[in-house]
Symmetry: C2
């Protein structure tokens, strides 16, 4: 069918419940399953809000309305009948059914019920994979998270910006860049909106946020890295130090986690078997040195002395959770040797930055800091890190004509979701994942 | 200074008004201007909310607080004094002032007052250019627009998605693509989220929206095109035809324009000299043929018979505005010859698509349509347009396993702002513009 032939949807399938008995409805959805029991045919019809049962009685009716392959799309006109044997307490007795598009058989992966398809196969058929309510829930949660974030920001005087993803020069280290053929030149894909959110501070926009894609040409293949992901970024002016950024972040996070719990807490418990826990403030803060000691004590020396390994982050998360009952922990004052040139260093110990990471259930989800806003110091730090002053000149120029002390953070949207739902792989939290090997779908 | 040395901002400068007399405040901002009159020095201090006057009395005080170059960043502690000679009705008499960062002189472009710098020079120093309240207003409006859009969508059951910008194959025509060096392969930057918002429909997400960057390697240099811009996209399932999409769009647009008018109407009138007009519904709808006739009558034949030129859009906009008093007009049922393969064609006249454009003050800001969801027809249309079936296979596969009738639109954020504020150039509505030649800042 081309359209709906004049039918208009009256209800979502999740609304077909006890209490709606006798109502005439038109519903639309995917045929999840059909089952014949004696002379009855049960159709489980699904949409984004849930499933409902459609009951066909007798051979004649079954013949009249036709046979539907799994995942075919149909529209049903009928009457709601309360039925306590159905989980939702009601089913639909149809007066008419229209087949809109018939699904080919067999389905490449199973949609209804458990599937044993490998993750890679599921990602190949991601549009079918997302039809599973458990997977679709991710995008409901994502929508709620982002809206709650923006609400909190806007209430606090932040402006939304969209910074360019085509860069004339690298935004971070210069490593892991994707080159773009840009007419007669080479451009690069932005690894972060860092330079541009700082430009916004130098432009007097006071406080800004951005939610958008960033690109990292990392040839790694892990459960927490992708070559493209959604970065959540903010930057605020007039701070005393990175402590102000952390204080903002934790209040913002409480607002977001509360909203997720209120809106989806029950569904998350049902589908993922986990509780959404709103963090108690203040979130524990430990220094990098303390974190490193915890890691060394628990798992012995791993990685460089100035860095925390993935495994190190995990045991730090576990230890703090056991000790303080917090899923979140701020690890602050990372060594300068491991942080980018634009982080500010401590006055009394320049080997240490005014930077921090936020660890959630053992995985880093945020990196934040106060930024170095003093032109001469910034130039000095860029030199110390071996950067070409020419390539960062457009950025360092921002700091010549008056700039407020400022700081901010970058936050991984899909990492937040992965850690919140105790997922094993960030691919499950991404609409269409990108890594070294995957460019489809 | 490194931080604020214990000072905390109590007020934004826009709040320093009559009624606040006697209040002790700490404010922070950019020195817009200093003026000496006799023994008095007036400092105009600005932040994102507005300007306030700081008054230094006598040589001793002037000497104590120092001399500030224009655009230097300072913090001021003082008492608000009502003064009817100041526009805001109040000024600040400081007890202490701290210089945070001193601006170099001279400024590359003037920030306070009128500037005669060329647009290109202003864009080179965009962070200074945005310090002008008229230019900063764009980002306040943008924030309001996007939030209003999302609110309306979410109230209507839409989910937010983030589709990949790294594509394994072209999303639209195959022309104007930016190639990306993607490890051992070539990837392309997404020209639109088209295939992915349709994937969301095939995934049963029902209704989705996305606000994000798109990339067009167009070697053009106009006042309305960029190589990267923020695209506003939505897609909805269970439509009868493109008419449902237009009906949704116009209600959504009314919600957005109303919000802009309420929030910024007065400032827009003051700074841009234009009124924000909330469209009356229904927005006039004319067919492509009617539009072409209007254009031909007004300016003679221009461009191809199956297309409306920029000039044609302008006169169509003007004509409808004169006739119906509407700044907006839907032009619908464009010729199939000019539209992409995924647009649905009319049953009774396959030379015509179920597609439309929305013209705002003479410039196209939206293209929408019902999409072809019938697998065989889609394949046929792809062939007819000369596409390689192999390169779009990942997309056409979406339509094999049940899909609701659906449609949607893409909408240019900066074009909306440009047309709303009667700007001459889309560059003025963009945070950091990108075109063939510009990759900095």
């Amino acid at each position: 069918m081309v359209g709906l032939d004049g039918w208009k949807r009256t209800n979502m399938l999740g609304e077909i419940k006890k209490g709606l008995g006798g109502r005439e409805v038109i519903v639309m959805g995917f045929v999840r399953e059909t089952r014949d029991i004696g002379k009855l045919r049960f159709i489980i019809l699904g949409d984004i809000t849930g499933n409902a049962q459609v009951l066909l009685k007798g051979k004649e009716e079954i013949a009249r309305f036709g046979d539907f392959t799994k995942e075919s799309v149909i529209a049903v006109k009928g009457t709601v009948k309360e039925n306590l044997e159905v989980v939702s307490g009601a089913e639909i007795v149809p007066s008419d059914i229209r087949l809109i598009t018939k699904a080919e058989t067999p389905l490449p992966i199973q949609v209804y019920g458990r599937t044993d398809a490998l993750l890679d196969t599921r990602l190949d058929w991601r549009f079918l994979d997302i039809r599973k309510p458990k997977n679709a829930l991710v995008f409901k949660i994502e929508t709620t998270i982002e809206m709650a974030m923006r609400e909190y920001w806007i209430k606090n005087g932040f402006l939304e910006i969209h910074s360019p993803k085509l860069m004339g020069a690298p935004s971070e280290t210069g490593a892991d860049l994707f080159p773009v053929v840009h007419f007669d030149r080479t451009a690069y894909l932005a690894q972060s909106p860092q330079f541009y959110k700082q430009m916004a501070m130098c432009a007097g926009l006071d406080r800004v946020f951005e939610i958008g894609p960033v690109f990292r040409a990392e040839p790694s293949n892990t459960t927490r890295h992708g070559t493209e992901y959604t970065s959540i970024d903010m930057e605020m002016s007039w701070i005393e130090s990175h402590e102000d950024v952390m204080e903002f972040e934790e209040r913002w996070l409480v607002h977001v986690m509360k909203r997720v719990k209120e809106t989806h807490g029950e569904e998350i418990r049902k589908m993922y078997g986990v509780d959404v826990i709103v963090p108690k403030l203040p979130i524990p803060r430990i220094s990098f040195n303390e974190a490193k000691n915890i890691s060394n004590k628990a798992i012995g020396k791993t990685g460089a002395d100035d860095d925390l390994t993935d495994e190190g982050e995990r045991v730090v998360g576990e230890t703090i959770n056991r000790k303080d009952g917090s899923e979140f922990v701020f690890v602050k004052e990372y060594p300068w040797s491991k942080k980018p040139f634009y982080h500010m260093r401590k006055e009394d110990d320049p080997s240490v930055t005014k930077g921090y990471d936020l660890i959630f259930n053992g995985v880093e989800i945020t990196t934040g800091s106060q930024r170095e806003h003093r032109y001469e110091v910034l130039i000095h730090q860029a030199k110390e890190k071996g950067l070409s002053l020419e390539s960062v000149k457009f950025y360092t120029d921002f700091f010549k004509y008056g700039v407020p002390p400022h700081g901010g953070f970058g936050f991984g949207l899909t990492r937040l979701i992965k850690q919140m739902l105790h997922m094993e792989n960030i691919r499950e939290a991404t609409f269409a994942f990108r890594d070294m090997k995957r460019l489809f779908p």
